[in-house]
Amino acid sequence: MTRGLVAYTFARYIMNDQASAAQPSTVLSAPSTADAAAQVVTATHVVKVFRDFWHRPKVRAVNDISFEIRRGEVFGLLGPNGSGKSTTIKMLLGLLHPTRGQLRVLGASPRAVKAKARVGYLPEESYLYPYLTSEETLHFFGRLFDLSRQERDERIEQLLHMIGMQHARRRVVGEFSKGMARRIGLAQALINDPDLVILDEPTSGLDPLGCRQVKNLIQTLAQRGKTVLLSSHLLADVEDVCDRVAILYNGKIQAMGSIHQLLEQRSRYRLTLPDALPPEQLQEVLQAVRERLGAEPDIDHPRVDLEAFFLQIIERARHQKTTPSGTTPSDNIADYLASPATAPPPPSQAAPTPAAPVAAPVPRPRPEEVNERLRKLTGNPDPQE
């Protein structure tokens, strides 16, 4: 207990709040008063059945799902392989057609050209032309969006810088590692400055730096009012960036709601104590808890997550290395994607600075903030009692 925080969790069995705990099968519907104009994506009772050559039903990949995504939201489709995430995304892009139900994307059919002009799509695999260079690939997709030469040149420059691949601009995509091809895929998805960004397994094949960068990018896009739909089976990715998620299994939405709603365990509390608490005071606290609650609390040291630790190591090494062999780490966001009002990512999610210690202290909250938070959590007007 020489450094960092002491934190422990304990059961709040005194507070009888079991009913409010989120159950896996609970579907938390969106507010019914949601403004239709703010709905970027709506899916209503969508079913997708794959058929065989003789048109006999083979697989029901999506089974009566309904959801909507609002402007500026980061929405996650979460589920194991084969749960219907990619099929849903492909229907939203007009690449597959629903067997039943209705889909609207930006107020139009998913197959409407005017809607597609405002959508960026990163597929789960990098379906790029292997004989084109990075630059040619981005020019190609820029042309499909009818961007002028000057616009394409500017955006490509910024995107290549953003994904750290300026040095590979003239290398053909077929030579790239999966991660590098993925970055080009990401760049093509953003070349039209889309209003709706659909990312299918966006961090698949990326190194932790790339993952962090993609997550930062998603947050930046959301801050700019862009809507992001991402699918993943990497729970940490979804938790890090999504405002709301839908958990799919067997083609059905098993749970849907905000991350906070779904993950909050309202029957349990976590208490964070100040740094360098003397052992005797800690013992007093524990004793008080034992006496008041009649139960033994859990206690351990907090840990930084592996991602944060990894990023710090790489950041340190970055200052010692000169020639990049793969992608160049970059915290930049393309200018046209980042508005002047863009706020920096939250401290807990930002890449650590080179000088940062391995486990950086989290800013300690002021006592009144602690009391206020406890009051909200427990509903007790006087938490000291």
Binding site: L95, H97, V113, K114, K116, V119, Y127, Y129, H139, V172
Partner: protein, 456 residues
């Protein structure tokens, strides 16, 4: 339009960088240079030109046609298989832009290769027939008969219907045919017989044909009568005869004695002054062979009067352009097939369609009942129904195929025959304008409805 050009560029870049174009270019040049070096012609100047234009360039065209069909089938189909189309279709791109982009990409690339083939062949032709390589006589033949563009004129058809009717009545009266045999079967046989007799030249006799020329011929260019004939006796050597041209009652008219082998093409030059004021030329052949035999001409195929129309290079370009449209038509077939099927199935379908197109003449004969799959005279009800259905299918096929079936222009330029702009325009209108649009519509209709992200 920018999206179309983006797809055009990408399909061309893919073809070039995947080395398909390089390999194709290698085989084309190998054919164009290697074949004339390794295959000997018949030793004549005409044979040499035919070897270069008809066989060498024809083989290059065949290779390019096969490559075009394959490449166009693969253009959309491989994009679907490799899923690149998912990134394209998810952009604001219409199916028609995808189809047009791929079609233009394949067509421009193969068009470029085709133009290169023509230039290489023309260069080889000029190099191997340069003045230093030819005698003065050969140079004259080359300039007047081979490396020219001449309009083909066939003899004016004779009205033989009265004679055919007489023969028919006589044959019926003699009971040469069973009474139940329909007239439709007997009449063509008698017609052919009468026509053959009318165009035969008996021993010591002569026959006459009239050519209606399309317009006044150039005064400084001879008319070339190209002819061949059969004889009634097999294993004969050269046959003696006399050609005359000009007004029949003019004692000074053109005359040339010949002694030539049957069943081979020969030619004589007729001065243009023997053309009558009404733009007709009367030609006679006298059978003066020492042994009695019949000389037989098929007027539709064995007698051609060649009238100078223009230079060879322009004619070659027109032929090249016609074939370019043909290659673009093949691309359209392949691209549309590729939107429906996987590469091998699309290629198989396209090659089958090509086979049907090339069998246009055969299909026409089947459709017009010159050849019948079932003898309906003795057939039962079922056979008659099958024959009628089959006949119907052949007629529909004939209607579909006839507009696009055409003789190979290389066969024409190899013998110095003129290909008019009208023919080039017809090829464009039919193969690109009409059939190309139909194929475009089919392909776009299917591509717009196709689910391009179905699981494999």
């Amino acid at each position: 339009m920018q999206a179309v050009w983006a797809i055009v560029l990408i399909s061309m870049r893919n073809a070039v960088r995947s080395k398909i174009v390089l390999v194709l270019l290698f085989f084309l040049l190998l054919t164009l240079i290697g074949l004339p070096l390794t295959v000997r012609g018949d030793g004549t100047l005409s044979g040499h030109v035919q070897l270069l234009l008809r066989y060498t360039l024809g083989l290059a065209l065949l290779i390019l046609s096969l490559a075009t069909v394959w490449a166009s089938c693969a253009a959309v189909s491989s994009d679907i298989r490799d899923r690149q189309i998912q990134l394209v279709i998810s952009k604001p791109v219409r199916a028609v832009q995808v189809w047009l982009g791929q079609w233009l990409g394949v067509s421009l690339l193969n068009g470029g290769l085709w133009v290169l083939c023509i230039l290489v062949t023309y260069g080889a032709l000029r190099w191997t027939t340069r003045p230093a390589m030819l005698s003065a006589e050969d140079q004259e033949t080359l300039a007047t008969e081979i490396l020219v563009a001449q309009r083909r004129v066939t003899p004016r058809a004779r009205d033989l219907q009265a004679e055919v009717a007489r023969e028919y009545q006589a044959a019926r009266a003699r009971g040469e045919w069973p009474p139940e045999t329909p007239t439709s079967q007997i009449w063509p046989v008698i017609e052919r017989h009468v026509s053959a007799r009318a165009n035969a030249v008996a021993p010591g006799g002569q026959n006459r044909w009239v050519f209606q020329l399309p317009r006044r011929v150039p005064p400084d260019r001879s008319l070339i009568l190209r002819y061949r004939f059969a004889v009634s006796v097999l294993d004969m050597g050269a046959i003696g005869g006399i050609w005359r041209a000009g007004p029949p009652n003019d004692p000074r008219r053109f005359r040339e004695s010949v002694r030539v082998a049957p069943l081979a093409w020969h030619s004589i030059a007729i001065p243009p002054e023997w053309v009558a004021a009404d733009s007709t030329l009367t030609v006679e052949f006298a059978n003066v062979h020492e042994r009695p035999l019949m000389v037989l001409f098929d007027p539709d195929n064995d007698l051609r009067l060649m009238v100078y129309e223009g230079g060879f290079l322009a004619n070659l370009m027109r032929a090249g352009l016609s074939l370019l449209f043909h290659l673009a038509f093949l691309s359209a077939i392949g691209i549309t097939a590729g939107t429906f099927f996987s590469i091998p199935v699309a290629a198989l379908t396209s090659f089958y369609l090509l086979l049907l197109l090339n069998a246009g003449r055969f299909v026409r004969r089947l459709a017009t009942r010159e050849v019948s799959l079932a003898d309906t005279t003795d057939a039962g009800m079922l056979e008659q129904v099958v024959a009628a259905v089959t006949q119907g299918i052949y007629r529909i096929l004939d209607i579909v195929i006839r507009p696009v079936y055409a003789e190979n222009p290389l066969d024409f330029i190899a013998v110095g025959e003129w290909i008019g702009w009208g023919e080039v325009g017809y090829q464009f209108v039919v193969k690109i304008g009409l059939y190309g649009t139909i194929l475009l519509g089919l392909g776009v209709w299917h591509l717009a409805r196709k689910e391009v992200a179905l699981p494999a």
